[in-house]
Point group: C2
Chain length 355, copies 2
């Protein structure tokens, strides 16, 4: 018998996240290890009178390709893939790399070259109903420093939620934030505020990322002022960075330190001018995620946290900051954190204003 959690996961992806209906063409892009989830997804798709096309990826295929491809081949646009994407209504990406480090040692220039060539495909995907999720496997469990069993519990705890209920709470939070024109994070070594005037707060309710659970905006870049201390570690280009402290003046980082990974942080801030400004300020709301795993799909959504991202802003939030990077850094708020919208306390001592 299939793990019933896989069946529920598939149902959430098809029914809730991408709302597959009769006649839909579904492009199901899976890693090899996600085959058990793919089987359940195609059943859900077929039972709704829609049609699946399965596109396979794997750690070995990716590495085999990038090592073997010629320089001219890096420029070759995969027209057959593009045509399949164009003819699809829904795209579901099932990530489950058997080896999260499969591309270690590859010249990053070749990877970026290839990404650039296939950019029209990524852009086309964003025009569709699309959702990204992961299927727990040994590779991801190992990356999270957990056993597979514990990792499965972790992933399904984050994913198999009542998303209609979660959405309602996120919309309530978003609407409250829209009543005001400033946001302020207060906590240990932290008092950071910014204007959000004419900016849009977006509730990420699991239609594009599964799991999800965050309400985010791009603040008015030049108005970010104050200090912030982020206690949760994160990865930047393979390096772990922890205990980041940032001081902002007129939107710009004017002082920074990290308890671990100071050099990597310095390198990130020096990528370009935009890397010293915030592209995002956000509140993580998924209480099914109780710990970090160094996987941003999960970490930025941990319940009772906030996060800020250095670098590129979101056009959908009317953000204007431009950068080649978008580096999310997360802070726990449960013990002593406070969030203010305007002069209204909307979160304090582990509770939202409605709790």
């Amino acid at each position: 018998m299939t793990d019933p959690r896989i069946v529920k996961h598939a149902r959430i992806l098809v029914e809730y996240s991408t709302k597959v209906k009769a006649g839909d063409m579904v492009y199901l892009w899976l890693d090899l290890d996600a085959h058990p989830l793919a089987v359940e997804v195609i059943k859900q798709v077929a039972s709704r009178g829609a049609s699946s096309l399965l596109i396979l990826d794997s750690s070995q295929l990716s590495r085999g390709y990038i090592d073997a491809v010629t320089e001219e081949g890096l420029d070759l646009f995969p027209k057959h893939q593009f045509e399949a994407v164009k003819a699809s209504d829904v795209l579901i990406r099932l990530r489950s790399p058997s080896n999260t480090r499969a591309l270690a040692g590859v010249d990053p220039k070749r990877l970026i070259h290839r990404q650039k060539t296939t950019r029209p495909i990524s852009d086309e995907i964003l025009e569709k109903r699309w959702c990204l999720t992961i299927h727990p496997n040994s590779g991801l469990a190992q990356e999270a420093k957990m056993s597979l069993t514990d990792y499965q519990d972790f992933v399904y705890g984050a994913t198999l939620r009542d998303w209609d209920k979660e959405s309602k709470l996120m919309f309530k939070l978003r609407d409250k934030l829209h009543e005001h024109t400033t946001i302020r994070f207060i906590g240990e070594d932290t008092d950071l505020q910014a204007s959000t005037e004419d900016r849009t707060w977006v509730a990420s309710t699991g239609t594009h990322n599964m799991p999800s659970g965050e309400v985010f905006t791009s603040p008015v870049e030049s108005t970010v002022e104050g200090d912030i201390f982020f206690d949760i570690p994160f990865l930047y280009q393979g390096a772990e960075i922890q205990g980041v402290r940032l001081k902002f003046k007129e939107g710009k980082v004017v002082k920074f330190s990290a308890e671990k990974g100071q050099e990597a942080l310095a390198a990130a801030l020096d990528v370009d001018d935009g890397a010293r400004y915030l592209g995002e300020m956000a509140i993580g709301t998924n209480r099914g995620i109780k710990r970090y795993t160094l996987n941003m799909l999960f970490d930025e959504k941990i319940g009772d946290t906030i996060h800020c991202a250095l670098g590129n802003a979101y056009p959908e939030c009317k953000g204007t900051n431009k950068s080649a990077v978008h580096i999310d850094i997360i802070k726990s708020m449960k013990d002593g954190g406070k969030i203010l919208a305007g002069d209204e306390v909307i979160y304090e001592n582990g509770k939202y204003f409605w709790e």
Copy 2:
């Protein structure tokens, strides 16, 4: 280290069978168990400056789909798949079912319904450079009643051949057959002959089937006369049929028997009018295949055999017989068999005319 035979197999498919060149779009349709071969194929494709798109199938996916799909869904044409095929130059199918009986118990009407819906895709594939092969796995080994190790030896013995040399011999045989207008098979309980006037003999040299190794035509239907005894068993709709004897008069089977599976044979002959006439007469030339495995991709190519097919003829041979079936039946010729083209003995006592 990858089994070097997998690397050689991939090279034959890409270099010899489908002649992949820079800029080609390659549609690689694989069963899950064929992943190791797919990795080597995409490397070969990439190293030639071409681009692969991997379409996944599996026993579980096929069964999951057909059990779950709605009646209306069976009519839904997979436009995304069709567009990907249309945009491709080369199609390579890697068969490796984990369970060859995965569709047992499914209503055949549903399978035929689906085949009919997707027929434009199958037709489109035939317009491309295409090749079908298998990757040895436990499912296929079990079907062949062999251990996996023995089965791998069997498959690679049939596949990793000098195809240029094999082709030359097949062309020599084809050209000789074209010098004459009749074909005659003689052996135990066998003396069968037919006119091949104005018909085309085709050498199957491994460009569409890998392995291959047969020279075939569709005889002038009404001219098939005499008796034939086929000693090699075969499957028809899951039933094993063995020791078939057929008597032809004016092209039509007028008497038949089987040592095993008589009822199944009778049912096959009664499918339609065309099922009692021969759609194919052929000579198997792959001496890397020394035994039958109840897999027609291999069995009809066993070296030193002939086979005849009841039912549908090949338009490429200028055959005209029409039938819903095409049932290949095979006969060993090594011990005492003789083949005549016109009045010339072209094969006798295990040797071709050039040996």
